[in-house]
């Protein structure tokens, strides 16, 4: 990969994460961001199971989902107040 390609890839990653509000998560948004990532992984896992492809990725997605669910439960238990639905940029 050339330096220019690497820079473009870096900018693409930065843009994707910024748009998803994941470069730096605001403290009050952790529960919302976690829920959004969990939904993405759930959709991907469903796809993998429906099309019976990618056993390794399927295991990885299932593990990630379990981790996110575990973290979500803990976060909700320690939430100082109800989370907002606004995104950070």
């Amino acid at each position: 990969m050339s330096r220019s390609d690497e820079e473009n890839e870096g900018q693409r990653v930065w843009k994707a994460l910024s748009e998803a509000g994941l470069v730096e998560i605001r403290l009050e948004d952790f529960t919302d961001r976690l829920g959004e990532v969990k939904r993405l992984v759930s959709m991907r896992l469903r796809d993998l199971l429906n099309f019976a492809t990618g056993t390794q990725e399927c295991e990885s997605a299932a593990r990630s989902l379990a981790t996110l669910k575990g973290l979500e439960v803990r976060l909700q238990a320690t939430a100082p107040r109800q989370s907002k639905s606004s995104k950070n940029g």
């Binding site: 900018q11 994460l17 470069v23 961001r33 993405l40 990885s60 320690t78």
Partner: protein
């Protein structure tokens, strides 16, 4: 605050070494701290300060742009699993990730970013393959 000559770095002398004083952006404005070590996370580099704060590279004053990122396929399954275990251990021990610039906050930020990039990219690739076939 105007950066000093010391803070205007080039890629050649980046990242700085342990023991150096760093400036970084924070919610309070601009702060400084002594660097203990630089550690790669799942997506970007974190700068760990002597006082325990963990600052992502993009907030460090003088960090080169564009920033260097890890590709999601560079992260091994073992590394991902180790990170997941650490996160669950921190959560189960009662730590709160809503403490800005602390280890749990930093690790969870990176884990969510990594997981998002990994599965979004994989989903898009599969979608493109289906469209093409």
């Amino acid at each position: 605050m105007i950066p000093t000559a010391k803070q205007l770095r080039t890629e050649a002398d980046w990242p700085p070494e342990g023991g150096e004083m760093l400036g970084f952006k924070s919610s309070a404005g601009f702060e400084t701290g002594i660097l203990k070590e630089v550690r790669w996370g799942l997506v970007w580099r974190d700068f760990i300060l002597e006082d325990g704060r963990v600052i992502p590279e993009h907030r460090i004053s003088g960090s080169p742009h564009p920033q260097v990122w890890r590709r999601v396929d560079e992260v091994t399954a073992a590394e991902q699993e180790a990170c997941e275990e650490r996160l669950l251990n921190m959560a189960n021990s009662g730590m709160d990730p809503r403490k800005r610039d602390q280890l749990f906050w930093a690790e969870l930020n990176q884990y969510l970013a990594y997981t998002y990039l990994k599965f979004k990219k994989a989903g898009e690739q599969q979608g493109n393959q289906r469209t093409a076939s």
